[in-house]
Every structure is written in C-alpha cells, then in structure tokens.
Subunit: 320 residues, 2 copies
C-alpha cells in the first residue's frame, strides 16, 4: 500500500514530463526497458505485477559505477591497511609488501583470497561507528585515479535515471553487490536514491560487545554476496525474487538466472564495457569484472546486453 500511494504521488508529479531516460540513446535496450516497465505496471496487463512485488536488483561495481582499475572498496580497504598499525606477521607477507610498495599487480598476482584475508584483518578491530566515519572521510576526500572526479561521481548517469524511473513506477530498487555494504551505505541514498536497508552486499563478521554496547568488526568474512551468493543475499535481505536484475559480470550470473527463471515477465540486463574512449573497454579476461560465462549465456536467456558505447548518450553526471 505504501508503494501504491507513492506511485500515485510520483506519477502525478511526472505527468507531462519528458523522457525519463534522457541519457539512454533510442535503441533496442532502452525500448526493452520501457516496454517491460509498461507491461508489468499497466492496469489490466496480463503481466501486471503489484507494486510490493516490483523488486529490481542492481549490481554496483561496473553496473552502477566504475570498477577499474580496481574495485573501489578494495582501494579504500588498502588505504585502511596502509594507515593501520602493522602486525608483526605482515612483515613476511608478500601481499602486504606489494601493497606497501604500491604494486597492485604484484598483490593481485597472489590471488584474491590472500589479498582479501589481509584486508579483512586490517579492516577489523574497530567499532562499526568508527569504521563508518573512516568510510565517510575517505569518500569525501579521495578521487578516482584517472577520471578526475570523486568516486561518488564516478557513477553512471543512465543508471541513476533508470533507478529513478523504476521507483516512479512503483518499483523498489536494491543494490546487490559483491562489495561490502559498509563502503556503500554511507552515500548510496544521496547518489542513487537507495537507502541503507536496500543496500545488500558482502560483510565482515560483526559482534556486539555486551560490556561497551558497541558493534565491533571481526577479522573474518561473514557473508560473500557474489556469484551463487547473490540469490542467497537476495533471499536474506529482500525475501522476494526480483523481476528485474542488472549486472555486468560473471559474479552476477546467478542473480540474473534466479531473477529471469521466475514465473511471469522478467528482465535481465548486462552492462557491456566497450567504451575505451569515455570509460574502459574490457570483458572476458579482465582482472575486475570478468564477463565471460554471463556473456555467452545472455542470448539463450534473452538477457539484454547494454553497450556502453552505443546505448548510453552520456556516461557520468555533470561535474558538481
């Protein structure tokens, strides 16, 4: 009922408005989105979905914002590592040595697990509140290394319009990311219009310290919201199967499968990073955001492959 009332308000406010997706070029991708939204929201449609069930899930890295040259939360976590008091056992750790020498490739060469293990350690031992302050401070001051803008503006304008358009049509929009919730929640509402409780992601183990009343960060992973973990995260946090899912990599494959396997009309979409000029061009074998199996699976699942180059008129928001 909430969503009905809201949808009513929003529809009234948008009456007579122009194109809700001005940063999308006319073409099959934009058409598929608009057709889908009309079909599931129109009264009397055979595919009508009640507002409370209009669930849309978006991956974050590479789908809503830039994921090159490295996932942004890794950049933040590495800065936390550099600022942390070194532990004796790190001295002989090749990942630690590579990171301290700013040799990212060398650190990644050891594999994702040793890197993540070290980052989890360095990003633990403090309270959730203190960590939240560090996240906010970092995002307020750090800029993307090559795009010459703050990370929170290295986001895709067409997707911000799409999120808004979906909400105006009674959808609930969620992030379902392999990245950590803690690094997204402080700014996701301002940037994407997505409140903290609608941000689903990976997270470290958190314990409530009964003596101090503080939530403390432990040095282990509680939940990995990636690949087959994404449908699990959706069930845990949302409790309904989405009707629309948008991803960009093999880590989104199971979310797309789970979404489009549901009964009734569904829409699966994939961002294809093919625009070296305005963003980055990469797919099958990249270090971040590898798009291999999901690209092959797209045609048989009728997932829409959105070309950044052809389908997006503008990539980033105007500088603020």
């Amino acid at each position: 009922m909430l969503a009905v009332a809201l949808s009513g308000c929003a529809a009234g406010g948008m009456a007579g408005g122009g194109d809700p997706l001005p940063s999308w070029n006319e073409g099959p991708a934009k058409q598929a989105i608009v057709d889908f939204v009309r079909d599931v929201t129109r009264d009397g449609s055979a595919n009508f979905v009640p507002p409370g069930q209009r669930i849309a899930t978006f991956d974050n890295d590479g789908t809503l914002w830039v994921e090159q040259p490295i996932y942004t939360q890794f950049a933040f976590m590495i800065d936390q590592l550099k600022a942390a008091k070194p532990r004796p056992e790190w001295a002989s750790n090749p990942v630690y040595k590579a990171l301290m020498a700013n040799d990212l490739k060398g650190a990644m060469a050891q594999g994702e697990k040793p890197l993540l293990g070290l980052l989890l350690q360095a990003n633990s031992g403090m309270s959730v509140d203190d960590y939240d302050k560090a996240v906010r401070q970092w995002f307020a001051t750090q800029r993307h290394p090559t795009l010459n803008r703050p990370y929170t503006q290295a986001v895709y304008q067409p997707q911000i319009e799409l999120l808004k358009y979906l909400r105006a049509n009674g959808f609930k929009t969620f992030i379902v990311s392999g990245g950590t919730m803690e690094a997204m929640r402080p700014w996701a509402e301002e940037v994407y219009g997505i409140p903290p409780e609608q941000v689903v992601g990976s997270t470290q183990t958190i314990k409530y310290d009964v003596a101090t009343g503080k939530l403390m960060r432990e040095p282990s992973l509680f939940f990995l919201d990636d690949g087959p973990g994404k449908p699990v995260g959706i069930n845990l946090h949302i409790g309904q199967r989405p009707i629309l899912a948008f991803g960009n990599s093999d880590g989104d494959m199971q979310m797309l499968e789970y979404t489009t396997a549901g009964a009734g009309r569904r829409l699966g979409l994939i961002v294809h990073h093919d625009d070296a000029q305005r963003e980055f061009a990469y797919d099958r074998q990249s270090a971040m955001g590898k798009l291999d199996k999901a690209l092959d699976a797209a045609p048989r699942n009728q997932w829409i492959v959105v070309s950044m180059k052809k389908d997006w008129k503008q990539i980033f928001p105007e500088a603020r």
Copy 2:
C-alpha cells in the same frame, strides 16, 4: 525523499482524523509515545530527526503477537517435523520421542539447543519456495490452541495502531525477531503493514543450487537474531541505529540498549504481560519470553514498561 513524500501524503490523509491510537488507554505510556513522536518530527524541534533516520524496530513474539504457550514458529516447525519422513537417528532421540507424543514440556526439558537442532534438520532439505508454500498453508489453516483465532489474528491491536501511527509520521518500521524470517514474511505485510525486506529474524543456512537454480534449505543455523544478535541483525539488515525499539523479554535487552544509547532523543519500550484474563500473565521465569534482566534494567534506562492490563484498552483485533 521517499519518506518525506509519503509522510506528506499520509499527514494529509489524517488531517482532522481522531485518536490514531484508540486501543491505548490514556496514561504515561501512551503519553510518552505521542510526546516522543512529536518531538522528533516537529520542524524546528531540537530533537528533530530526518525521515530517513526515523527507524523503529519491534520484536515479534510477545511484542506484536502472542508467544504462549510456545513460540508460533516452533509450533510450525514441530508440525513440519511430524510430517517429515523420520530419519533413522531420530528413533533414539528423546526430544523427537517427546514431540511425537505431544509432550512439549518433556521436549523442552532437554534444553533449547537439542530441540532447535532437531527442528533445523526437519525444516531443511526442501527449496525455499516449497518451504514458503508450507508456511502459507499452515497459517491459512491453523488456529491458536486457546485463543480460538488464527495465529495471524493473535496479534496485538494497540501495536498495529502504533506501527501505522509511526509510518504516518515518516518512520520506517521493522520487525527484529528471534524467530525465523521465513515464518513471518509471508503474512507480515498484510497483518502489520511491514514488507518482507523489513522483517529481520533468525534464519537457516541457504545455498543456491547452481544445477537447478533453486535456493535450498540446509540443516544448520545461519544467524541467530536474539539477545546480542539483535544489534548485529539491525546492522546487517537496516544499517542504521534505531531511534525507537519495542521488546518484551531479555532477548530484546541488547536491542533496547543499542537503540537508547544513541545520541539524541530515543525511546525504549517493553510489553509487560500482566493480563491473565485477556491474554497471559508471566514475566521473570517463564519458559517463553523470560523478562528478568530487562525488567530490572528498565528504570535506569528510562525504558517505558507498558502494562497490557492497564495500558491496552483492547488486546486483539475484532474477529474477521
């Protein structure tokens, strides 16, 4: 912005309306609630809280609905056990034997852990979708053993009014229960106005089966949302510290502490089950919903103890 728009709509709809809490008797508890809501929502108030941060969390068992003679999800899970194909190892299990003989006391006498372990086994091995169907079927047909009404109507009318009143004032309302999410989500929106993603609770381990594309229930506990687990569950699912929390037992103690320890104005409330005539009378040493430490802690934390007998004019909704 969502909440602002909604609050605007709702406030308009309520203008000139009467008492939003008609099932609450006039008295200090009702007054404390109304004063708190006015103070955090009034423009220009020193304690003003923006709508997106007006988070209210409610325990379920004993706070929103009846928890005697046994937590309802236990009743459901026991029925699942009785319907399950018996496993060979259950034959010698004293908890199993007691449950099959309808000797609930005998089953409980073994402790909560052996009971829970057995129930987790019997409530696993099927898909999330099939389990959801079983939950819906059970609630559609089962009635409370002594109150002569369906379980979904063994809910407290004053709390339904309070949830609605809070939402009309721009609050987001969440359930934060020790019970399982799966047993609440199918009916919480219809009964409480709380959508699935705002229901936080305990949950079994879920795995995505890549071969079939199904989410499957595993025989282990993934997360216990009780006691010190409640602030952890709040952080995991909501990502903000509540400004209002309502509980009824020691299992809610840390949620109340965590909520009222935050900066600015906060409100903690406890239902006291002191009405043997209309519901049940129990507190310190009961088998379910033991209220011992939290009752002692209430005065020094300024938590409001709500007497079911004195503060609630009507306990249950009119029969439908």
